[in-house]
């Protein structure tokens, strides 16, 4: 059975030591993912906050961010690799940042856009300046969607970092490509399982971090809304 073979590959001590061992590849994979998500956040979060806060450039943003999603990562990696004369690290990082920007940007922008206008107006009525409104009202209210965007971006980057192995980086894509060349499915499935575990682990971590940073008031509001909603709908039906 192929999955039994994959588990055997995963547990084989030979794969757990040396420069091409599983721990090294997991580490490299993680480093690239962290770098890409951090880099993309540095670009996408301020941009999303600015556009969401000022309401300027939303249409342009949606269009260009959709165009970015259509950029094939494999094409971008090989292109940058050749343009930069074989500097793998930078070419892979840039390609992964490009991949991670659209979901984070969309999450941040949608988060700010979705903030109840009444809440923002109330903040203005209380005499808050533009930046106070942004940092103390809009940003905390936007956090659930912003964290959602970060989780999406992380999932995509973790899955796609395997493509980096094609230009010679020791990510978890290596066992996929190596196994494919010699038709050793145990290696391929083993590598895929590792990537999936990594993705699930990071997603859980981010979900937990999201729980910690999202203000308690927001969670209470969401729960009350959920509890109240069915009653409202029932009333509508009654009236009809």
């Amino acid at each position: 059975m192929i999955f039994a073979d994959a588990i055997a590959w995963l547990l084989d001590p030979v794969n757990w030591s040396g420069a091409k061992s599983i721990p090294v590849r997991v580490g490299v994979h993680l480093l690239y993912c962290l770098g890409a998500v951090l880099g993309a956040s540095l670009i996408a979060v301020p941009l999303g906050l600015y556009i969401g806060h000022t309401g300027r450039g939303g249409v342009l943003l949606v269009g260009s961010s959709n165009a970015l999603r259509a950029l094939p990562t494999l094409g971008l990696v090989t292109f940058l690799y050749l343009v930069m004369n074989g500097v793998q690290t930078v070419s892979v990082l840039i390609a992964l940042v490009v991949l991670a920007v659209p979901p984070i940007l969309a999450g941040t922008y949608a988060g700010i856009q979705d903030v109840d206008r009444g809440v923002v107006d109330a903040a203005r009525g209380m005499g808050m300046t533009g930046s106070q409104r942004l940092w103390r009202v809009e940003l905390p209210n936007a956090l659930p969607l912003l964290v959602g965007g970060l989780r999406n971006a992380t999932l995509q980057v973790v899955a796609t970092a395997s493509v980096a192995a094609y230009v010679g980086i020791e990510t978890l894509g290596r066992p996929l490509l190596d196994g494919l060349r010699v038709l050793d499915y145990a290696q391929v499935v083993g590598g895929a399982v590792l990537i999936a575990l990594l993705a699930v682990g990071l997603d859980l971590l981010l979900a937990l971090a999201g729980k910690l940073v999202i203000p308690r008031g927001l969670r209470l509001a969401a729960e009350t809304r959920r509890r109240v909603k069915p009653v409202e709908e029932a009333e509508v039906v009654d009236v009809v």
Binding site: R69, L74, A159, S162, V188, V200
Partner: protein, 219 residues
């Protein structure tokens, strides 16, 4: 630029490009069409039976963490097709796109107001006719939004198939990389993005044609 002109100047290259483009369209759009049908059926099941929803949510969460490259090669090992068969890519992308579409479809069906459903029933619509002519059309805007995301991501994912030797525009990337030749890579990136853009425009036109009432609301 001169390189690209020289590359495109060769008639053999141009006909090869056309084959790749057609392969790419086939590999990315066939899964999209199958997924729409599957997602509507599964979305309906989700909407009617709670347990289907629970199962699908957990399956899709796991499926999304499996890298496309891995799925492309695991599928032949599981169902016994040849490694190089394009059908692997079609199955993998169908799986991704269906999971992407099911949840929004189920939510859109659940969001159809009860009084609309009640009105259709009162007018004598039987459940199937009500579903096909009232509930499903009302879910089209949400479905269309999902299909647009799915088409863009399929078109960009098919390129990865080149690493396992299926056709499509991704072959330009692996060829260019092997020969250290930039022109095919640039042509491949441009063609992929143009294809995504054109398909997206077609989808927008299709959505507007299928939902004439949204235009009436806007004007």
């Amino acid at each position: 630029m001169g390189d690209i002109a020289k590359y495109l100047g060769d008639a053999g290259t141009r006909s090869a490009l056309l084959t790749m483009l057609l392969d790419h369209i086939y590999l990315s759009l066939v899964p999209l069409v199958i997924s729409v049908v599957l997602a509507v059926v599964l979305g309906l099941a989700c909407h009617r039976f709670r347990w289907v929803n629970t199962v699908l949510v957990s399956v899709s969460n796991v499926l999304y963490t499996i890298p496309s490259l891995a799925l492309f090669v695991i599928i032949p090992a599981v169902i016994g097709t040849s490694v190089l068969a394009p059908v692997n890519v079609v199955i993998a992308l169908t799986l991704y796109t269906t999971t992407l579409l099911v949840r929004p479809v189920a939510e859109a069906l659940a969001a159809v107001p009860d009084h609309v459903r009640a009105a259709a029933t009162a007018m004598g619509f039987r459940p199937w006719r009500r579903f096909l002519t009232v509930e499903l059309p009302l879910a089209v805007p949400v479905l269309a939004a999902g299909v647009r995301v799915g088409s863009v991501s399929n078109i960009s994912l098919v390129s990865v198939g080149a690493l396992i030797g299926t056709g499509g525009l991704g072959v330009l990337f692996t060829d260019g990389f092997r020969q250290r030749y930039l022109a095919p890579i640039i042509v491949g990136i441009v063609l992929t993005m143009v294809l995504a853009l054109v398909v997206d425009l077609i989808l927008v036109v299709l959505r507007n044609a299928l939902t004439p009432w949204t235009k009436a609301g806007r004007s």
